[in-house]
């Protein structure tokens, strides 16, 4: 049975009418138009759909939208402020941490969660925590370098 819920995405509240079997990913993309959050494997194996839920990295494809009520959801669209890229996004661009870009929103969001939890992570820690974000282009080296560089400049905090 469909029901009306309110979701708080990137600081704004949206009212949507949804069925319980709709995932947060489906609602973000198909109902609210946040196309930055990508649908990869849709089974929780690739990390492309990662969003922040109350600051934690969540796989939106394995999250029912009804369960996100009352949580602060942040997608890749919510990272930049006033048109200026978030330091992590800048770092990915400068270090060449992307090629086709499909996995990048999930990578950046996961990196944000890691740096918020651990402002100066070791390379080993980044590798372990980002292992669930698959990329088929870059080979990860530049991704890790981008996160390391962002943590060195700003500790991930704005």
């Amino acid at each position: 049975m469909k029901q009306g819920i309110a979701l708080k995405v990137n600081g704004d509240t949206y009212e949507v009418f949804i069925a319980p079997n709709q995932t947060l990913l489906e609602v973000l993309r198909d109902k609210l138009g946040f196309m930055g959050t990508k649908r990869g494997c849709d089974l929780g194996a690739c990390g492309a759909c990662t969003v922040l839920l109350d600051g934690e990295a969540y796989l939106s494809c394995l999250m029912l939208a009804v369960e996100a009520v009352g949580k602060e959801i942040v997608t890749i669209e919510g990272l930049s402020e006033g048109g200026a890229l978030h330091p992590l996004q800048k770092s990915f661009v400068e270090m060449g941490g992307l090629q086709c870009g499909f996995c990048t929103p999930g990578m950046v969001i996961t990196a944000k969660a890691i740096l918020d939890e651990e402002p100066n992570p070791t390379e080993q820690s980044i590798k372990k925590k980002m292992a669930g974000n698959l990329c088929r282009c870059t080979g990860y080296k530049k991704v890790i370098e981008a996160v390391m560089s962002a943590s060195a400049t700003v500790g991930g905090k704005q």
Binding site: G47, A57, L62, M63
Partner: protein, 323 residues
């Protein structure tokens, strides 16, 4: 991949949740969702109702009471392994919880959900399209078991990482029902049947994990072998708990049987003995005695058997007095 249709309930109390489960036998409990929702997308589990535990107050905690460590079943795995007491005193639990899936799964997945996860099989954990080439297997609702080439049996394998670590600590679990709750040893919740791996009574929900103070008085570790070390289910996982004061050791495996298993004969063999090279040679011959290995994954049985020996020897070598 769309989820099948279901009714969604978010009860405000355990009693209410248990009542819904009793009322609707095909309802399932939803905790972190990282196991159940994947199976539902594959259409191997199609509950008519999902009973979400998210609305229940205070099921997420790690606290010490009278020396025992109590962990709420809804505690995320990340919270478990980041707890200072767990990290320092119960390394097997910390290592096993931090080796589950990826960082995201550890954030979303709960310790209760990890213990109660479905068993796995190469014929079961597949999309509907993939499975359509064969008759439905017994676990998915059909008759045959494609692993055993028999009917009405299921040899899917229990692959949880945390269960063996808790087994060697003699952990207990609290199961809550409508009539009240009971505390039983963790190993008693596993049925050893692939089709229905848990022995919970109808309407029961796991609410707490209890680890006695004694578990912190020994050395413990968890060793895992997986295709991709940081994100996959184990090919084999082994937990060891050993006390240098009593000479007692406990060993448990995951991914080698329909339930996590203790290696009792091997434990007896190691009892009170000094760890040395000759002793290590005896490990291989005893290691697979208690497990019923079946070809439910793509890894061969001889490979799994070898890994069991290697993982136990690796764990023993890290124990105090190990070689």
């Amino acid at each position: 991949m769309r989820l099948p249709k279901f009714d969604y309930k978010q009860p405000g109390s355990i009693q209410e949740a248990c009542a819904i489960l009793l009322d609707q036998p095909s309802a399932k409990v939803l905790a972190g969702g990282t196991d159940l929702l994947v199976n539902m997308k594959h259409r191997v589990e199609t509950p008519t109702t999902l009973v979400s535990l998210k609305g229940l107050p205070d099921l997420s905690y790690v606290r010490q009471t009278n020396g025992a460590l109590k962990i709420g079943a809804l505690t995320p795995l990340k919270t478990v392994y980041n707890d200072p007491y767990v990290a320092e005193k119960l390394p097997a639990l910390a290592i096993s919880a931090s080796s589950v899936g990826s960082y995201h799964h550890q954030t979303m997945g709960t310790i209760g959900g990890n213990l109660c996860q479905q068993t796995r099989c190469k014929y079961f954990n597949q999309s509907k399209w993939w499975r359509s080439a064969r008759p439905l297997c017994f676990k998915a609702g059909g008759e045959p078991c494609h692993v055993a080439k028999k009917e009405h049996v299921c040899y899917s394998t229990y692959c949880g990482d945390v269960a063996p670590a808790l087994l060697v600590m003699n952990a207990e679990v609290v199961l809550s029902g409508r009539e009240g709750s009971r505390q039983i040893p963790l190993e008693d919740i596993f049925s050893g049947e692939g089709k229905k791996p848990l022995k919970l009574e109808p309407g029961e929900i796991m609410t707490e994990i209890v680890i006695s103070e004694q578990a912190a008085k020994g050395f413990s570790t968890y060793k895992k072998s997986a295709n991709r070390a940081s994100i996959d289910f184990p090919i084999v996982g082994a937990a060891l708990w050993i006390s240098s004061s009593t000479g007692e050791s406990r060993i448990a495996f995951t991914a080698v049987d329909r339930k996590p298993v203790r290696a009792l004969q091997l434990e007896e063999f190691l009892r009170g003995k000094q760890l040395n090279k000759e002793l290590m040679q005896g490990v291989d011959s005893l290691v697979a005695k208690e497990a019923h290995l079946m070809m439910s994954s793509i890894d061969s049985l001889s490979y799994k058997r070898k890994l069991m020996g290697l993982l136990v020897k690796g764990a023993l070598s890290e124990a105090p007095g190990g070689i």
